[in-house]
């Protein structure tokens, strides 16, 4: 072990606090501990400038309330998101009080420690020594996770745990990792082991997450209700409970839970966003509007900001006959976000607003721009947006673009009968009942044949050919779940036969990620994840 002095001596520190007295005091203390490199920032802007310009800091002491603009948590999020700090940087939030708003962020953006003011020199020194030492211990684990070396990370976790130590941190890292890589059986085992000692809310919530991913919604709900009964202020359990109701189609209950949460803890951007989406789906425009406005406000200072609320609010404004605000919001989507799919959606909605207000010149212009975007990347739009776009394009008179949009939808969802019916309806409304049927049938048949050929090749043991064939197919139809799953299966068979192949492994995992985004409850995804993990490394 190193002596205490060297811990401070060769490390670089950044202090962020809006109060001059605190800055001076913390700097004096760090100096007294032996540190020689200390930067001091008075607000978020200065802090980010320091983080940008210099080599990575070893430790950051950041106050939570640092005046207007970003708070300490948001500075941390930006620093992590933009890789301004690495897995070795210890981030300590210094705060006057711990509130539930503060501790709800996603696990990957959690600070390494909270220090509650007031703190004196001796206690600060000991805390910093501990957090820096702990960070050094966790470094190898984090590095392995960063390199997607999950099995290595898991065994490092096991090695790092010992008796007489509080193992919270490592247990959390390990269980999050197991959930992330879809090892639900192992995650369940771990949570149950923790719960056999103690009813800890995060572990029981973890068990509920496992049940959620396995599609066992009733179990998930029972567990989450137990957590909430015992620890009402554990917000994550409320959020997941709402999620289970959402998944089961009970939007009313999901909304009720989220409304209750936002009353006590209103500053979570994600929660407000989800509430807006659910209320909007239910047609509760007032609740949705309020939630989206709050989301936008909370997002102003956040690097994790998404355009969902802008798009949602724009739609509500359109429905509430407020086209000028809708257009303004949609323009800000192009301007503030570098997100092609969101821009496409905004373009569709702009067109709809112009159509509604009778501005045919601008509507046509929007249709032309939209057609150009689609031509460049026909798979950019999600299914819902694609349907909306097709409806708009038909009305704007661009039959060709609308038709190709719908063709892509059919090909990506060739086995989803309910969706195909929706597509047919859109064609019918455009008066294209007869022409469309043939296109739909041909498209579906084409995809089935492509899929079958891949599967047959794999069955016959021509694995390289099967992989190549399905690889081409998924390049054309990156949102077709069956093709993605069949590719993964062929990759698994090949690796079971010829041994692990890192490139093929990450390609297969990428496919499963996309399947997860398209359908979180697809059973084959979980099954294949397990099979991939079971392939031994060479």
């Amino acid at each position: 072990m190193f002596t205490s002095d060297s811990i401070f001596e060769n490390r670089r520190f950044l202090i962020v606090d809006d109060f001059q007295g605190m800055r001076a005091m913390l700097r004096e203390m760090l100096k007294a501990f032996g540190s020689r490199t200390i930067s001091v920032a008075a607000n978020a802007k200065e802090a980010i400038a320091y983080l940008e310009q210099s080599d990575k800091y070893d430790a950051v002491l950041c106050d939570y309330n640092i005046g207007p603009g970003k708070n300490g948590q948001q500075v941390l999020e930006e620093a992590k998101y933009r890789h301004l700090i690495g897995p070795a940087t210890a981030w300590v939030i210094v705060t006057a009080e711990k509130t539930s708003d503060m501790v709800i962020g996603a696990a990957e953006y959690m600070p390494d420690d909270y220090i509650i003011k007031p703190i004196n020199e001796a206690a600060l020194r000991s805390r910093l020594e501990k957090v820096i030492t702990k960070k050094a211990e966790l470094y190898d684990i984090q590095k392995a996770i960063f390199a997607k070396n999950f099995n290595a990370a898991l065994s490092l976790c096991d090695k790092a745990m010992g008796p007489g130590k509080a193992n919270n941190e490592i247990l959390r890292i390990k269980s999050n990792l197991l959930l992330d890589i879809g090892r639900y059986d192992k995650a369940k085992e771990l949570f149950e082991k923790i719960l056999s000692v103690r009813d800890v809310p995060w572990a029981k919530t973890g068990l509920a997450k496992v049940a959620f991913h396995m599609g066992e919604m009733e179990t998930a709900q029972r567990l989450l209700k137990e957590v909430i009964n015992e620890s009402r202020s554990y917000m994550e359990a409320h959020d997941w409970l709402a999620k289970t109701y959402h998944q089961r189609g009970d939007l009313e209950e999901a909304q009720r839970i989220l409304v209750r949460c936002t009353e006590t803890s209103p500053n979570s951007m994600n929660r407000q966003k989800t509430l807006g989406e659910i209320a909007h789906k239910r047609g509760d425009l007032d609740v949705a509007e309020k939630a989206f406005r709050k989301t936008i406000k909370l997002g102003e200072n956040s690097i994790l900001n998404t355009p969902v609320a802008h798009l949602g609010l724009a739609k509500i404004c359109t429905e509430k006959d407020n086209p000028s605000e809708a257009l303004q919001l949609l323009k800000s989507v192009h301007k503030e976000f570098d997100d092609k799919a969101a821009s496409l959606h905004a373009k569709v909605m702009e067109g709809v607003v112009y159509q509604k207000t009778g501005d045919h010149v601008n509507a046509r212009k929007a249709a032309e721009e939209l057609a150009a975007i689609i031509q460049e990347d026909p798979n950019l739009a999600s299914t819902d947006v694609a349907l909306e776009a097709a409806g708009f394009l038909f009305k704007a008179g661009d039959k060709e673009a609308a038709q190709s949009m719908l063709e892509t939808v059919v090909k990506n969802n060739h086995d989803d009968d309910a969706l195909i019916d929706q597509v047919k309806e859109i064609f019918d409304q455009a008066g294209m009942e007869n022409e469309s049927r043939q296109m739909i049938d041909t498209s579906r048949r084409e995809v089935v044949e492509t899929n079958n050929k891949g599967v047959t090749l794999a069955k016959e043991g021509q694995l390289d050919e099967a992989i190549q064939w399905l690889r081409n197919a998924k390049a054309m139809l990156p949102n077709n779940k069956q093709i993605l799953l069949n590719f993964t299966h062929a990759a698994i068979l090949a690796m079971q036969k010829n041994g692990r192949n890192d490139n093929l492994m990450s390609e297969a995992k990428e496919c499963l990620n996309r399947v997860g985004a398209l359908d979180p409850l697809e059973k084959r995804r979980i099954q294949y994840l397990g099979m991939l993990e079971a392939i031994p490394s060479r």
Partner: protein
Amino acid sequence: MDNQETPPDITAFFASAIHDMKNSLCVLINFLEGYHTGLDENLKSEVAPMLYEVKRVNNNLVQMLAIYKVGNEFYPFEMTENAIDEFVSEIVMQNQTLLDNLGITLELDYDKDLTWYFDRELVSGVISHALNNAMRYTHDKLRLLITNEDDYLVIRVEDNGTGYSAGMLETGNAVSKGVDFASGSTGLGLFFTSMVAKLHKHRGKTGSMTLENGGKFGGGCFVLRLP
């Protein structure tokens, strides 16, 4: 002035006022502890009572805030596994200067390998308060004893003063039995402590607090039991 104006929502000011006060306390405590202010030895024992008062202000602030937040269901109560060794050393560090300056010795007695589940912030608030109180009533010795007794973590703060008065013992035990009252400055600390104790639950068992006389030194004993 417009008299029609509705009174401002005071909670909106809480966060910023507390932020300010905590910063001030931080600077005050560190000034009074005298690491960099170069207070000489004589002066140190003279400012010791002030340091004691500042800590009292802080304890009150912590208690009011926690009661307010728990009452409104937004205190982020978090049962985490804590290494008792770490927990104790941090409490000692936060109090060592004051103990030294007041001429009080603190004896520690606990198993170094012990770990326990509790909310670190709240329990540390309770123990700081108990220690601060004991400093006032002790003669010159304190003892912090932590043991695992029948699956309860038992934290005792003992002093060598004259012990709690009969009235205080009665009040303490009434509060711990759930009699809901708070009177004067003793009320806040007791209410806070019993609230924290009750928040700690495990398989049908609940935490509790008692006041006793006796212990190793025959003075007052503050006892917190956590399941």
